[in-house]
Amino acid sequence: MTNESNESNADDSELGLPWDRAARRGDSRRDLALVLAWSLDEPDRIGEVAVCRGALCLGRGGPSGDDPSPRAVFVRARPGESAPRPPFTNSRLSRVHLAVEPVREGLRVRQLGRAQLRINGRALAEGVAQEGDVVEVHNAATFFVAMRTPEMSGATSMTPAFPFASPDAFGLVGESEAAWKMRAAYAFAASTERHVLLLGDSGAGKELAARSIHGLSARRPGPLIARNAATLPESLIDAELFGNTKNYPNVGMPERPGLIGEAHGGTLFLDEIAELPERCQVHLLRALDDDGEHQRLGESRPRKSSFKLVAATNRPVDALKHDLLARFVHRVNLVGLMERREDIPLIAGHLLQTMARGSRFVAERFFERRAGALAEPRLEPTLISRLLRHPFTHHVRELERLLWLAIETAEHDYIGMTPAVEAELRDSAESASETAEVTREDLVRALADHGRSPTKMAKLLGLKNRYVLIRLLKKHGLSAGPEETGGAS
């Protein structure tokens, strides 16, 4: 640390151009870091991080005479915030438990304390952990190895304050750099009046993104109207979007303002916008351009609606008509769970708390109680370690399903690995690795040849079954013939 302080004096100087200053400060320097993912005694500290820039040791309590190197200091890192947290008080950690040192291949970790060190589930006295690996002190604490910049960039001030590790005002849980980058992107998209296109897999939180953008914008007091374009009946799409007069187009239809009219003064969230027929995409253009000008069906005078469109799709952007695409100045890529794996324990914790609040059975069977109140769940650390390394394809939705499965099939008073969870994890991991080798081109070709028969296609591509295929098609924004895709997802 000492020779770095000289550097940092130079950093403070205002000399030079901004980009040169940033480069000199090493703003983009990234180091491996340990993120607390599970702790027996201190579950409230999950999500805290220690960046490893040099040799460190880690254990219970503050510095002691026997420390082989400086103690890792954990922080609740947020943009512009990194105040040191108190030493761990975990009773299963020895006073000096791990020695950690950055080396070329990753972090060299050595066990000095009593409880067994494990890296990715394997018991070792010493080993090297890389980004994405899981370092466990058996039944004491689990750490996820992530890449971190010493200081997160951006500002928290745009997001209403919320406690560390809790959901933010709009329901997003996460303290990773990726989570904070998403919050910053939402805030930016909210700060202008331009329309927004959200891109990301289903399950990656598009509805939550729309809620955030609306809630952070000046339109907050206005309505947030949300609809899934794929569920609009084709013959009524125009009426649904633009409204209609009474008895038009069909007798008996009530007068409706349409989604665009309803969203006046607020935000219209249209999910799966790529499912709108091209004709309707064209009709939308006018409303997006001319101050929300639109015509109710059966009415000749145009109306205006001041609305901001937040549209979303899980398809590649070229699935949209290009002139519609051009109307979206802001495009926000939603970060999937795999790009912010260190948030998995926090999200799991939040999901479990929600389940416990909704079910007395869950609360009483699986949760600790402190001073009369619901406290942390009894979570087997192996489950968390396995989830941290699981290749999620359906993001938070898949995580939630796995947790419910663990609860349903639990045989004891804790939530952990059960044969059912094991089988499910193995199955979807297998299909994820299987599918990694199939490219989009392969799929397009197979669709052209056998698009009507997913079973045949799956066989041809060497996939286990048609469900694996359907999942893969979805991921690439493709779909097979309608009649056979029924039971998927």
Binding site: L40, D41, R60, G61, T89, N90, S91, R92, S94, R95, G113, R114, A115, N139, F367, E368, R369, R370, A371, G372, A375, E376, R378
Partner: protein, 131 residues
């Protein structure tokens, strides 16, 4: 009196490294003195065990700094008066603690270790019970 912090820590870490030391402690306490069991109703057994083990560690880790050790004990002392803990109960807890430590440390439990723990526990109780 100066405490043998190293010996206290070694035996405590050894005991805690095994499975279920804090749970066993309450088992021993409740079987010798069933009348105290109903006093433990605000925390689930698991949470109570974690807090007790954490507190023991924090006290032992501060044994070389009497000021800090006193501070660690002060908060606990205040809450224990609210729980209605009577002085003689500290003897019961002390015995259960020694029995459980001895059991968990097995062959590594020595007369020196027992003395170190009796000394330490005496100091803790004195701090807990002086208003």
């Amino acid at each position: 009196m100066s405490l043998d912090e190293r010996l206290l820590r070694e035996t405590l870490e050894l005991a805690l490294a095994g499975e279920g030391f804090p749970a066993r402690f309450y088992e021993v306490l409740f079987s010798a003195h069933p009348e105290v069991r109903p006093m433990f109703h605000r925390n689930s057994a698991g949470a109570q065990q974690k807090m007790f083990a954490q507190k023991l560690c924090a006290i032992v880790d501060s044994a070389h700094e009497p000021e800090r050790m006193a501070a660690e004990i002060r908060a606990t002392a205040a809450s224990h008066r609210v729980y209605g803990v009577r002085d003689e109960m500290y003897d019961w807890v002390g015995e259960a603690l020694i029995v459980t430590l001895r059991e968990a440390c097995g062959s590594q439990w020595t007369p020196e270790a027992e003395k170190a723990w009796r000394d330490a526990y005496g100091l803790i109780v004195a701090a807990m019970t002086t208003p």
